[in-house]
């Protein structure tokens, strides 16, 4: 039996309705007159044109520019330069984003798990009211706040010192790679937690309660019963977060010094300081490849699931 029928009857009921509405359904197609088809094309035309003009055209343009040498013609020179100058930053970017994703996943699981399985109404209510807030704060504002919050003599350390938890001499600055990770995790956790909590709320509670009745702890129910059922949602949320974090310029620029830094800062610097679009585009292609890597891992996982007996 396919995986998706296991979770309850809702999907089984919904499926035929969905199928009936699909335009390419074999029985429906002959009924559609030519004018209707033209109308359909006309309807999607603005969207397609927008994607073409604002996404595909610049994408091709940047790809071509990345592979063009200074004298025209095919060349890998821009990539050689990108590697020579920014190999450290490429590694740094991957490490930052992967670590942030892992920590975001942990925090989101903790929050979503508490929301679903928590038994204290007070804790669940407070958490529910609070956890979504960072979602509405733009990256640049978050970065600006972190800049004064995480500094050596910033708000966080000063608070610890005045509470007597820390000696002033022990204070250290988090305005480096740690600051970037903290900002990313703080900003992305609500997004992942929101999707995850939604998915957890829609799974069949009977399985969870059965587990509880048989004596499993709440943590065990979360890890062994609930999480496996919402894994696809968690992965989608993490892949989206991964790509978002990869593309943020303001956070690495404002929170941390520039050595090493993330690829977005290098791209901006390449253009602003040298007007060198070729190397900037090469760095862009490297970024595409990194995010493609994340997409491939996700697709692999999805396919393995589909093919499972």
């Amino acid at each position: 039996m396919p995986d998706r029928f296991r979770h309850g009857s809702r999907i089984v009921v919904a499926a035929p309705i969905c199928r009936g509405m699909t335009p390419d359904h074999a029985e429906k197609r002959p009924n559609m007159s030519l004018s209707q088809r033209q109308l359909a094309l006309l309807l999607i035309a603005p969207g397609l044109a927008l994607v073409g003009a604002l996404f595909l055209y610049p994408l091709c343009f940047s790809l071509i520019s990345a592979f063009t040498g200074p004298g025209g013609g095919f060349s890998l020179q821009a990539f050689a330069k990108a590697y020579e100058l920014y190999s450290g930053d490429i590694l740094f970017t991957i490490l930052i984003v992967v670590t942030s994703c892992a920590l975001t996943a942990l925090a989101a699981i903790a929050i979503a798990g508490t929301l679903t399985l928590g038994e204290s109404r007070w804790v669940v209510g407070t958490l529910k009211a609070l956890y979504r807030w960072p979602l509405f704060i733009p990256f640049i504002v978050a970065a600006q706040c972190m800049r004064t919050f995480l500094a050596k003599n910033g708000l966080m350390n000063n608070t610890f010192v005045s509470m007597g938890l820390m000696e002033p001499l022990q204070a250290m600055s988090f305005l480096d790679w740690r600051g970037i990770i903290i900002t990313f995790v703080w900003k992305q956790t609500p997004f992942v937690a929101l999707l995850l909590a939604g998915a957890l709320a829609s799974i069949d509670r009977a399985t969870l309660e059965a587990g509880r009745n048989l004596g499993a702890s709440r943590l065990r129910v979360l890890i062994e019963l609930a999480l496996p059922q919402v894994m696809p949602t968690l992965l989608v949320a993490l892949v989206l977060s991964f790509v978002t974090m990869l593309s943020v310029l303001s956070v690495p620029m404002m929170v941390a010094g520039s050595q090493p830094t993330m690829l977005t800062v290098d791209m901006a610097f390449r253009i602003n300081a040298y007007g060198d679009y070729a190397t900037a585009n090469a760095l862009g292609v490297i970024t595409y490849l990194i995010s493609a890597g994340a997409a491939i891992i996700y697709l692999r996982h999805g396919m393995a699931k589909e093919n499972a007996p």
């Binding site: 100058l85 920014y86 930053d89 500094a151 003599n153 910033g154 010094g257 520039s258 610097f269 040298y274």
Partner: protein, 376 residues
């Protein structure tokens, strides 16, 4: 009928408006304070003396990035009849490129105040001949800011600074080269100090082999960096000085004084220009070649570079050094404002140690060598 008449009068109004009001578009590459300077200070003053003219101030962003955007816009409109911008305020690097590509108009012979300009930067912009195309709006300078309570005698030279940092690790901070020009200026000062002939870098001619001679200096800078804090940006350095996290760092003199006046820096902070010196740069007023309002643009720049405006706006309000020769400002400015500008860095210091940035190809070589040898 009534709707028709309203529509007719509206149409007439729209048709007539270009005759009644003329718009002068001023594009500024720089921080928001420079955009506001045009919008709130120069613009209204010009509108008062030119009834019917409206000054629109556009900011294109700080640093060379802002100038790059102006360049791209003018370059894209090269083939058209008229550009969107009538006056542009640009950095040195972009000014050279724009003059070379014929995007700017030769206008200074029509502006009276151009005769009051004495600085070398009005003729030579990082190795490009720009005489006739630009008038400096102001001259700015970088220097080392330090906490006078923590160190009584600041280092006099870059060599002394190197020793001081070795003895006091993590007390010096700068923002690398990707976080703003004060860091770039510091790295340039380092190459001037330890990389051989500074004059050749400033005056040219360009020789691609010169950069090979910087390896030792940059290797030392890499070691030096192990004992410093890399700050997030020009403002980041000032923030850390303010919070007492570092004791010294390179800053822009005008930002330093403005922050101190706003109470964002403690009064015990002082400035020092260490030998052989650090670079500064002017911003230029220029007129695009294809502007439709050439005459208005020239009149605007004449006002902006007049002694009274330079004294009140540039020196008093923003703590920049004037773009025209300082002797023209005598009598226009009270003694206190004048003294404040020269308390820590005397005019003698300025004439000996205020350098210009290197010519464009050496400038790029310094940045790229830094990325190659120090940052990666």
């Amino acid at each position: 009928m009534r709707i028709l008449s309203i529509a007719c009068s509206l149409a007439a109004l729209i048709a007539a408006s270009p005759l009644a009001a003329q718009t002068l578009n001023v594009a500024t590459a720089g921080d928001q304070n420079m955009v506001d300077y045009v919008k709130d200070y120069l613009g209204p003053m010009f509108e008062k003396s030119h009834p019917g003219v409206k000054v629109v101030s556009v900011g294109t962003g700080p640093g060379d990035a802002g100038s790059q955007k102006i360049y791209e816009k003018l370059d894209a409109q090269k083939a058209g009849n008229a550009t969107d911008f009538d006056v542009v305020v640009i950095h040195q690097k972009a000014a050279g490129t724009m003059v070379k590509e014929g995007l700017l108009a030769k206008y200074t012979d029509k502006v009276e105040t151009a005769k009051m300009v004495s600085s070398e930067a009005a003729k030579n912009s990082l190795g490009s001949d720009v005489s006739g195309f630009v008038i400096p709006m102001f001259q700015s300078q970088t220097a080392l800011a330090y906490n006078a309570d923590l160190l009584k005698t600041p280092p006099n030279t870059f060599a002394e600074l190197k020793d001081w940092v070795a003895k006091n690790p993590k007390q010096f901070g700068y923002n690398g080269i990707k976080g703003g020009m004060s860091g770039v200026a510091f790295v340039t000062g380092w190459v001037y100090a330890f990389g051989g002939d500074a004059d050749k870098l400033i005056k040219g001619p360009y020789d691609p082999a010169v950069k090979a001679g910087w390896d030792k200096a940059l290797g030392e800078l890499k070691d030096f960096n192990k004992n410093v804090v890399i700050t997030p940006g020009n403002a980041g350095t000032l923030d850390m000085l303010n919070r007492g996290e570092i004791a010294m760092g390179p800053v822009w003199v005008d930002m330093f004084y403005s922050w101190q006046a706003d109470g964002k820096l403690p009064p015990n902070m002082k400035l020092k220009l260490a030998a052989p010196g650090m670079p500064g740069q002017p911003m230029y007023y220029a007129v695009p070649d294809k502007t439709a309002n050439r005459k208005l643009a020239e009149e605007f720049i004449a006002l902006a570079t007049s002694p009274q405006v330079q004294a009140d706006g540039i020196v008093k309000k923003f703590n920049w050094y004037p773009g025209i020769d300082a002797k023209n400002l005598e009598g226009k400015l009270d003694q206190a404002a004048w003294n404040k500008l020269f308390t820590d860095i005397t005019p003698a210091d300025l004439s000996a140690k205020a350098k210009s940035f290197p010519i464009a190809p050496y400038f790029n070589d310094i940045l790229e060598s830094y990325e190659k040898k120090v940052a990666n």
